[in-house]
């Protein structure tokens, strides 16, 4: 029953916002429980970011390395996250990832095989063993297609190209999601007993990013405005290897699989600089010499086991990104401001088979044949570790009836995410959030009575807000604001941060917010990208502010967060503390900290002595 007359209204037990890996997996879970499920996404189905993931999905299947187990995976994840991860999440993730990956195979995914006919796994930065199940370098495509086909066959109602602009809340918590059809611009309301947010990341706040226009932090901002807490927002992952040339593709991802297959990083003098940047406490895990690294690569490409240790390029992402940034900053970069990544010393056949889409990407977009010469790469904004605070087991946020999973949820990855841990995160916590939403929905009275009351006043306000940018007769151009926002974030809240920059960023963000409230959009309602951008800007600015405030608060360097004015990791002051962002009573953004839950002894034992 529409709370407001003449408003297109759909009612589902569970509404999932976002149709990437996390959203699809959540929807499948809820549908399997027999609920009516609506799945909303702002692009076409199957185009979400998950489709772009290349390298693989991390799961301790142990098909390649017998020694692998969930315990080792757990330990790697915690170490990669600089022990800021929620240990329960890291544990669930490591324990359940293998089952989730196997499930994909049961649903029709076709992973690459080991010689004995099982799912093949490849090594990746920060993982102790070859752990990433993959399909060449298009793992995300395989995953999203499998989930999408499964969801469609299960009879989930999909609303494609519908953007959610507001969560409607009431006494019962989250009660509905309001948005519009992009094709027509007409408003649409989804009533639900439980809502799952799975909207992905925030990369569009930065100039150089591997992310698409969709990554405007919608879920983060929607949840924040609905009263949920965001945690760890200062941790934005800069992927070490994005394309730097030509300008049109600046930031486009060069998968870590290139290094996983043996890619070597060199500066303009031909120096293999990663040797210099290995952190002392983990040096023992890496090869000691070029020769040992080569032995490791050879064994890998021949599918043999080896006792050689992995090459230094497979250090964690934060570390490699900083190394590249430093090399370039100190004048040892390539002409286009990157470093060289070279895989051309391997047989061309092998490179083309293992990295087909990288081969294509460089060939088509940069005229570089990666089997013949090196690529030029540099850091690019890639992933946000921070996100909506969720209950580990159920994905419940601090707002009743609102759940979150995937990149928009926080806690799992701590201060730095390991490659391949996102796809598995989507599956594990997508399913869990789906189950959480299901049990919340089932606990409501069945049928119409179970739907919480939707406040028509809120809905009307959302409708007005929707039309506003089109009705203004003068105002700022959204594209211009976006360019300025990206410049601010790129230069002031980038890989290396200092207090003064962050203060300046906050001042600029306040001004941008002002301008953002006055955006004016040309054209009509039908498929108008400027209009889309008007709402995304609001979200981007909220998220950017959360990043800057959290970064300003954390006076230490940890994982992906590097403060030039506080270069040390300060465990005494900051160990075990999450930054928390929430809306204060007066509507301003309040930032604080909260302690991580205590780690149970049996998990603590896995982490070894230090932690």
């Amino acid at each position: 029953m529409p709370p407001v007359t003449n408003l297109e209204t759909h009612s589902h037990d569970v509404v999932v916002i976002g149709a990437g890996g996390a959203g699809l997996r959540a929807a499948i879970e809820a549908k399997a429980a027999g609920l009516s499920v609506g799945l909303v996404c702002k692009s076409l189905l199957g185009k979400a970011h998950t489709v772009m993931a290349e390298g693989g999905v991390a799961a301790a299947l142990g098909n390649v390395a017998d020694a692998d187990s969930w315990q080792v995976h757990f330990r790697d994840t915690m170490a990669g996250g600089k022990y800021l991860n929620n240990a329960r999440m890291a544990q669930l993730h490591a324990m359940e990832a293998p089952a989730r990956v196997n499930e994909l195979e049961r649903w029709g995914a076709v992973f690459d095989r080991t010689p004995d006919g099982r799912i093949l796994q490849r090594p990746f930065g920060g993982h102790s063993h070859a752990r990433l199940a993959h399909v060449g370098d298009r793992t995300g495509l395989e995953m999203i297609r499998t989930l999408q086909d499964r969801a469609v066959a299960a009879g989930i109602d999909v609303y494609m190209e519908a953007t959610i602009t507001r969560l409607i809340t009431g006494r019962a918590g989250a009660t509905a999601a309001f948005g519009y059809w992009r094709a027509t611009g007409s408003p649409i309301l989804f009533r639900a007993k439980a809502i799952v947010l799975a909207t992905g990341g925030i990369g569009k706040a930065y100039e150089v990013t591997s992310n698409s226009w969709e990554y405007s932090g919608d879920g983060h901002a929607l949840a924040y405005e609905a009263g949920a807490e965001l945690i760890d927002m200062e941790f934005v992952q800069f992927h070490p290897t994005g394309m730097v040339w030509p300008p049109g593709v600046r930031g486009l991802l060069v998968t870590e699989a290139v290094r996983g297959e043996g890619g070597i990083l060199r500066n303009k003098d031909g120096e293999r600089f990663m040797w210099k940047y290995l952190p002392d406490e983990r040096r023992g895990e890496y090869a000691a010499t070029d020769e040992e690294a080569t032995r490791w690569v050879t064994a890998l490409s021949e599918g043999r086991r080896t006792d050689a240790r992995r090459p230094p390029e497979l250090s964690t992402r934060d570390n490699v990104a900083r190394a590249i940034y430093t090399e370039v900053k100190e004048g040892r970069g390539t002409p286009h401001g990157g470093v060289y990544l070279d895989i051309s010393y391997l047989p061309p056949e092998h490179v083309r088979r293992k990295l087909p889409s990288m081969y294509e990407q460089f060939k088509e977009l940069a005229d570089v044949d990666i089997t013949k010469g090196p690529m030029e790469v540099g850091p690019t904004t890639h992933y946000v570790m921070g996100g909506i605070r969720v209950e580990p087991d159920s994905g419940a946020t601090t707002v009743p009836g609102l759940f979150a999973a995937g990149e928009c949820a926080g806690g799992m990855h701590g201060a730095n995410r390991l490659g391949g841990n996102s796809l598995s995160d989507l599956l594990v916590f997508g399913a869990r959030a789906g189950a959480g939403a299901t049990s919340h929905a089932i606990n409501q009275p069945s049928g119409e009575a179970g739907f919480p009351h939707v406040d028509p006043v809120n809905v009307r306000e959302a409708t007005r807000e929707l039309a506003a940018p089109l009705e203004r007769v003068s105002g700022d151009d959204p594209y211009a604001i976006q360019r300025d926002l990206q410049a601010t974030m790129q230069s002031l809240v980038g890989i290396f941060r200092v207090q003064a920059d962050l203060d300046e960023a906050l001042t600029q963000l306040a001004a941008l917010r002002e301008r953002g409230q006055r955006v004016q959009v040309a054209g009509g309602r039908s498929f108008n990208p400027g209009w889309d951008l008007a709402f995304e800007l609001r979200n981007l600015i909220t998220v950017s502010e959360a990043i800057a405030r959290s970064a300003r608060q954390r006076t230490e360097s940890r994982g992906a967060h590097s403060r030039l004015d506080h270069p040390e990791t300060d465990d005494a002051r900051w160990g075990g503390l999450n930054s928390v962002v929430a809306r204060a009573e007066d509507g301003t953004m309040a930032v604080s900290t909260s302690s991580l839950p205590t780690v149970p002894d049996e998990l603590r034992a896995l982490l070894g002595t230090a932690h």
Binding site: A48, M52, V110, P247, G248, L365, A522, F527, G530
Partner: protein, 273 residues
């Protein structure tokens, strides 16, 4: 600096539509999508265009550039003679939404009619074993990024009225991936022949020409499927043979499955964990 002259289709359904001209400054390595973004950012903020990845991975940015169906994020301006205007128009086989955006929802409706992957229910997954060579074919089909360029260019969908609907090359590719999956138990041949209308394809290969993933759609997916349909419906010898052998037509049962007990020789250390 060089300039590219873009002629971009603008318009909505129920109006004739028009071409607007834009002069776009060219940077090295620029693709058509970059040029369209420049237009959005500087000249026509409401220009409707779909895109996501900008890396030929998502299949959103399909359009027709100088009359040829292309991914605009992969079509480089340097491939064109910049003295001539470059025409960009929406995919023509689908109804228009606005400017370069078309309504492709029909494709999703077709997809929903294909019977999904059906593994055997009597073999536990722990015993599945298959080799890279068993799935190389299937992996080719699964490279599809659903750009629908093949659907757009296929003359059956673009130009013709048919007695029954035609599913189009994209979904023949999907069906091929399912039919040739070493473990799939479903039989979609009757569906392909009747509901899917595989007979409408006259193998003229335009789909293969445009596929940005270089899937050999016609040779590797459609023709093998036509042959499989022929096995079932147009091969009297096989039909008689099947009848004599008493095998229910259309049943895939009896085929060898790649599972551990009868698996390949290389499983010496199978089941070790």
């Amino acid at each position: 600096m060089d300039t590219a002259h873009l002629r971009v289709f603008r318009g909505e359904p129920n109006e004739p539509g028009r071409y607007e001209e834009f002069d776009v400054p060219v940077e090295e390595g620029m693709v058509v999508l970059d040029a369209l973004h420049w237009v959005q950012g500087h000249a026509a903020p409401d220009l409707a265009v779909r895109w996501n990845c900008k890396a030929a991975k998502c299949g959103s940015c399909s359009a027709e550039v100088d009359g040829r169906p292309r991914l605009t994020c992969k079509t480089r301006l340097s491939d064109f003679d910049l003295d001539q205007p470059i025409t960009v128009e929406p995919m023509r086989a689908f109804p228009l939404i606005r400017d370069l955006v078309t309504d492709v929802s029909w494709n999703y409706a077709v997809n929903a009619t294909i019977e999904p992957f059906k593994p055997p229910d009597d073999v536990p997954q722990s015993e599945w074993r298959w080799q890279q060579e068993d799935i190389e074919r299937v992996q080719e089909y699964r490279k599809c990024i659903e750009c629908f360029l093949c659907q757009d260019v296929c003359h059956v969908l673009r130009n013709h009225e048919t007695e029954r609907p035609f599913m189009g090359p994209r979904f023949l590719v999907r069906a091929a991936g399912l039919e040739m999956h070493p473990l799939d138990q479903a039989d979609r041949r009757e569906y392909l022949k009747d509901a899917g209308g595989i007979g409408y394809c006259n193998i003229t290969k335009c789909c293969t020409e445009v596929c940005p993933e270089h899937i050999k759609i016609t040779d590797n997916a459609i023709i093998p499927l036509k042959e499989r349909v022929a096995d079932e419906f147009y091969d009297p010898i096989q039909i008689v043979w099947r009848t004599l052998r008493g095998r229910r037509p259309g049943s895939a049962a009896g085929a060898e499955l790649p599972v551990l007990p009868t698996g390949p020789g290389g499983t010496s250390d199978g089941g070790s964990s």
